[in-house]
Point group: C2
Chain length 717, copies 2
């Protein structure tokens, strides 16, 4: 006995000396830290063994089993016995619908599709077990992550009867990653794809990327930038993409590629990329065959055509539909899809950039092949802090539309500003298009229910890079997370998801959760206030999109200049998109168009997006527009200070490494919020010829000083 105690003591000494878990953010929301002892004891009885039929060699179920083992080892401190056959009390049984013991339970799997799952507390052979069942191994994997999440959040896992299935078919990350490992608009280091060492070296990070995505239901990755190089379609790069596809496959993640429209010329030495030229179609068909030979479950192509200088079918006087359908025919035999972007931004429409996508695409409604989906950004300009919903939503009933959100914060403070995008996504998804009367939300457009489309999807421009914490900050991880949740369910609540993320990321401490959720749900309105309140947009610095530059007016094309968007002068401010102006409001359904046509019925948050109004325009608060504008800017700065104070209030409850990083980033955000406010108010005071409203603190520097600032080595180029 003495020897046993000595042995115990020596091992305890060792355990105590083990390094603490590194809280460098690498683990994301899959942290699996030890649960409180009481909860461990409770859960251990219900997670006593893991049972699945390994002889079926379902790779997704094997990954599900590995994940559960990893999670239980971390959270319960238990190596879970792994049984391939017999059920014991407290077992977790994984399997598909045809597994005999699962079949016998008659679970409601019929309506859950290929990716849904059931988690059911059941009795098998008189033993209480937890069953995770689905129609596919990937469904079982999703269910396993759902069970793990309950454990992470300290929720009981008895008495469960959970069914879930994704509402959208394509739930994709778009990586704007270049082949030289730079990431366009990436603020988290290099591309995680180390193309140079692929296909030989498959970094363990690729597996962790797949785990993280599968845990939130993401099922596809477009590997390369939409501003694509043809090289990504060459044999060496297909082999590299195939190596990634091999890693991702068990996690239910398909690989997609951005296609360079002119690849038949650049790679195939054809004279044209005209989609109606048979040689072009033949080239793409052969290219698709070549890709599918290497990647049998290749997802398909994403295409940016005739936008920002990219080539496209309009170069040959063909329509976007002509282009998309030609590519669609190439991938159709293999089950692939074409995601054709509606973000078109060409030289021909100087009147109102916001109208261009609708003008180009509306007439093509119903003319796309059935494996084409048109990918539309949430707003008509470009991922601004706030835009009204894109007028194409609801306007193309004959065409499946998928949502394109930006997860990386190109216009929202890059890596360091704390901006939770859930409220932005929710606002866009819950916007009512009135396409078929009240309740015709954007969510119902993209989930296919409004117009009965089977092909549905949501894409998020990834914020992922080689930084240790993946996303450049702890809170940026929440944007990846909420994107996944809303792609799974576009009607998810941003606030609920924020709470889930906080519990998974910082542990289920109620004080932490309520404080973090407060910070997160405030943060998006804060950034709107200190950057571009009341419907303003596109006032950021040229090129890098960092910091305020409302004064820029000298760039070659009108719509490159912030002054094009705010149109501030001595009399007033705002872009008139009513019929006295560009009449962009007419692109919306009549009810919405009428609302936006009148400044009195336009929500004040969108006022200057649709209307040019005088500086003394009376606002609902009783203030003039100028007073209201200044008040919003000042409020934005104080909201950041509030967030910072809230973060400091929970310092004792957060690990030092993650606490310090967020604390420093909030200091940066506070300084930059002040910069935005001061520079914008200095500019608008100058252009309006008005003094600052009474009580508003003067800007710290002169307008000339703000205009003189340059940033030669900004990230994300």
């Amino acid at each position: 006995m003495g020897r046993l105690i000595a042995w115990c003591a020596s091992v305890l000494l060792l355990a105590g000396a083990m390094p603490a878990y590194a809280e460098d953010g690498y683990d994301l929301w899959l942290r699996y830290r030890p649960l409180p002892a009481g909860i461990q004891a409770r859960d251990r009885a219900q997670a006593a063994a893991l049972v699945y039929d390994v002889d079926r060699h379902d790779q997704s179920i094997i990954k599900a089993g590995e994940e559960i083992e990893r999670a239980l080892a971390g959270m319960l401190g238990a190596q879970v016995p792994n049984y391939s056959q017999s059920v014991v009390p407290g077992a977790i049984l994984l399997g598909t619908a045809d597994e005999p013991r699962i079949k016998a339970l008659n679970l409601p799997l019929g309506s859950l599709g290929s990716e849904g799952y059931v988690i059911r507390s059941a009795t098998i052979d008189g033993k209480a077990v937890t069953v995770i069942a689905a129609n596919s191994g990937v469904g079982v994997l999703y269910g396993s992550f759902a069970l793990i999440e309950r454990l992470q959040r300290g929720l009981p896992i008895d008495g469960l009867d959970i069914s879930a299935a994704p509402k959208l078919k394509l739930r994709l990350l778009d990586h704007w990653d270049n082949l030289d490992r730079t990431v366009e608009r990436g603020y988290a280091g290099q591309s995680i794809w180390d193309w140079w060492k692929l296909p030989d070296f498959k970094s363990p990070r690729y597996t962790d990327y797949a785990r993280a995505n599968a845990s939130i239901g993401i099922n596809g990755a477009v590997l390369n930038n939409v501003n694509a190089k043809a090289d990504s379609l060459t044999a060496p790069y297909i082999v590299k993409a195939a190596a990634l596809a091999d890693v991702f496959r068990p996690y239910g993640i398909k690989v997609y590629l951005s296609a360079r429209w002119s690849a038949p010329i650049e790679l195939g030495h054809l004279k044209t990329a005209d989609p109606l030229d048979p040689a072009v179609a033949t080239w793409w068909k052969a290219k698709a065959d070549e890709i599918y030979a290497a990647i049998p479950d290749f997802g398909g192509f994403l295409v940016k055509a005739n936008s920002e200088g990219q080539p496209g079918p309009q170069d040959y006087h063909r329509s976007h539909a002509d282009g998309a359908n030609m590519l669609a025919a190439a991938v159709k035999p293999h089950g692939g899809v074409i995601m054709w972007r509606a973000f078109v931004y060409a030289q021909e429409n100087p009147e109102d950039r916001a109208k261009q996508a609708y003008d180009d695409f509306k007439a093509l409604d119903g003319r796309f092949a059935d494996n084409v989906i048109v990918q539309v950004k949430n707003g008509a300009i470009d991922f601004q802090p706030r835009e009204p919903f894109h007028p194409l939503f609801g306007a193309m009933p004959g065409t499946p539309l998928m949502m394109e959100f930006q997860i990386t914060k190109e216009y929202l403070g890059m890596a360091t500003h704390l901006v939770y995008l859930g409220p932005l996504y929710e606002e866009a998804l819950q916007a009512d298009t009135w396409a078929h009367g009240k309740g015709s939300t954007v969510a119902k457009v993209i989930d296919g229910s409004l117009d009965h489309h089977a092909l549905t999807g949501m894409a998020g421009v990834a914020n992922i890079g080689s930084d240790r914490d993946w996303a450049g900050s702890t809170f940026n991880q929440a944007n990846w997370f909420v994107f996944g949740r809303m792609a799974w369910n576009p009607d998810a609540s941003a606030k609920t998801v924020a709470g889930e993320w906080s519990e998974l990321t910082f542990g289920p401490n109620p004080q932490v959760t309520s404080t973090v959720v407060d910070m997160m749900t405030t943060s998006r309105e804060a950034v709107v206030n200190y950057m571009e309140p009341l419907g303003l947009a596109h006032m950021m610095g040229t090129g890098h999109h960092y910091g305020p530059a409302p004064w820029v007016h000298e760039l070659a094309r009108p719509e490159w200049n912030p002054v094009y968007y705010h149109k501030a002068d001595a009399t007033g401010i705002g872009f008139d998109r009513t019929k006295t102006g560009s009449n962009a409001v007419a692109q919306y359904a009549p009810h919405v168009a009428a609302m936006f046509a009148d400044p009195k019925t336009t929500p004040e948050r969108n006022l200057l997006w649709f209307h040019h109004v005088g500086w003394d325009y009376p606002m609902a608060s009783g203030r003039t527009l100028w007073e209201e504008l200044a008040a919003h800017y000042t409020l934005g700065v104080s909201q950041v200070a509030d967030m910072h104070g809230k973060w400091r209030s929970i310092q004792p409850l957060i690990d030092p490494e993650r606490y310090a990083k967020t604390d420093i980033f909030l200091s940066i955000q506070q300084r930059e919020a002040q910069w935005w406010r001061d520079a914008c108010l200095a500019y608008f005071a100058s252009v309006s010829g008005r003094p600052l409203p009474a009580g508003e603190a003067p800007p710290a520097r002169s307008l000339a000083e703000y205009e003189a600032v340059t940033f030669p080595y900004e990230p994300g180029k």
Copy 2:
């Protein structure tokens, strides 16, 4: 008792379930994994407490204490009691020479300078203790790392009487890191300096960088690329550099900057950068004052001038000495130094690029200010797999010269080839210049002993980046390590250091150590053989320096072309540097010059560097040159196969993650070694008009195919 056992058991369960240490390479050679139980028990008695006077607030000693605590916690599983005052049996006592208990020991610290240390097993107040003493806190830190290393390697720490001091004063990493985070010739991800988030966010990685450097005695870092931008000298970037200096200071590491020669024009709006123009000198003096105000212990400037298009004093018809001395005067009042590179490579010397540094610098000997040191690459061309020692070593007795080695493998297979550079460094350092007769080694030139210089140094072009393993591969870490060891002691043995590194990196298992040391000591000769044997050089691909391209002949300047260096034709191969050719041999001391002037006395490894010889030239082996050349190429390939086999033989003794990565990289190296051999032999067979020697396997592809390969997205640009 039952409860105690249950408690033990539950904690053991937890301990067993703790995640294994991630073997992702982040910990470098400071892994601090648990030692075998027997050794732990032995060492615990001698590492029972840590004693130092915290009230002195010596930051370096505090860091030393933290490091010992971290090391003992990891290796011994012991939280070491930390006493600020009283000595107990088994204590480790840290302190400087004036600490009363250390002063009483009369340790031989007088000759050890500001960075040396003593480790002594001693008795204080009748208690057996281990004393780590030095003349400065940094010396104590160095001694602490030395003691930790003994523990890591399983060596006893009783009966110690160790004294050590560095032979060189400046032991520096040169980071060729750009302000946009790209790294010129970097193959390990982005720059670790996240300039954008500095000075606010000081990544924990900066501290770990400093720890690793201090552990091998590196005491300076040039933060930015020698191809410098003036921006790094602007106020915002000085603040950023100061933030790094603050992190590094306790670890004895000074910050240096590469200076852009034309900064007075670009930043100061002067009309000239003429070093003799008083306004230019005044500008630099003010700039130095500005930097020192922010970084009181700033180390000084590194300058690349009049080389590869960089501006310099020769633009104004002034000498390198004029330029260096002007800058030296600016930093002199603050104790700074100027490191002036002798790597000059300008348009004016088409005769023999290898002669240019000597031609430019020899005449300036003795004309440099006393805080200038001239930085000379190990060879006269540019970090090739093998070069004879640089003729400037020994040729400038009146001037301190520092060595510039490359740690990053620009010409040696980039990230993935296993090439241990210790033998390359050793070969250069032990080369005999005969400057003052036999034994006038390069090591004695740079350690100042040959010509009595006090200012001494060695710089290594860093191989460090944002990759998790820092250096792009596990074995690349060894090159950082051996550089540090040889900068501390230029007479260190590459093989001994390889063994030390292996024990620290993979644990002190004799089978692992002997196998790894075998691999490492073979590896440099292997890369010479499969790339550029027998004195060949500079046959790599244009621009990216990746892969074989001996055929390139069409570039604008003669010395940009591989054919300039090998001069192979139907009759023979090699660069005649005797008096019938460029007479570069005359740059060496007479004894050496005579040896290199005659092909019969020239070592065969340098033959084609100095001589153009016929394909049938008889070699010592009895083979013709052509046969010998082919045999070397083939040998190089088989040496890689041997290394791979050795690695596989120790698979059970290496953790899976690091085993797999090196295994895959060796596969890449094997394929690329074959490529080098095949492409070069195909080319030389073609140019010589000879068939391959009997028994040599034919190249896998045609010469035209090798010539057609392109690499559009290579790293390290």
